[in-house]
Symmetry: C2
Subunit: 109 residues, 2 copies
């Protein structure tokens, strides 16, 4: 995932990839002083193993459907849904369909 | 804007309001230790006067089209576009059409 340093005030597209989503790659949209924002792409059946980060997170499903496991709780996050995760919470992802999602992480420096 | 305190891991809807958007109100989705997340609703022609906050911001247009003025620069943010604003940057909004947007603010405490 290449990091691109976005200028303040520059619009970036979050348009759903649609039928081409499985051919796309996860991409770091930007990393600033306080935030890292990543567009995740997960093909159906792919997982993102359970882990945690110190900062708070929002995860927004842009298309498809993702199973999110947090400290043993399992939730389904579908297109146009947002989930908040407190800092330090273990979370793992499983794509139930081809999916993309916006991950916003508060950085602790 | 009432603040609801969201539990970690609870999905919340960001579905576009569609034709009913002009009858909706802005709502604070949650405020945590490090983040405040608001769904803004602006009817066509309405403004959000220029101001700044200490923390970094992302503004994501969920539907419609919003003119964003930052330190004299003018950009149009349309549905499915995200904008990053550094902390302390003056920004003002003008809805070019009925619009809703997700505003994520890093809190400084």
């Amino acid at each position: 995932m290449a990091i691109s340093h976005l200028s303040s005030g520059e619009p970036i597209s979050l348009m759903p990839y649609g039928k081409t989503v499985s051919g796309e790659r996860s991409v770091a949209l930007f990393k600033s002083e306080e935030l890292e924002v990543i567009r995740l792409v997960l093909a159906a059946g792919k997982t993102f193993p359970s882990h945690s980060v110190p900062g708070e997170i929002t995860l927004q499903c842009l298309e498809g459907s993702i199973e999110v496991t947090t400290d043993g709780d399992v939730q389904t996050l579908s297109a146009n849904q947002l989930m908040f995760l407190a800092g330090g919470v273990d979370h793992g992802l499983l794509a139930l369909t081809d999916a993309s999602a916006l991950l916003t992480i508060v950085l602790h420096r």
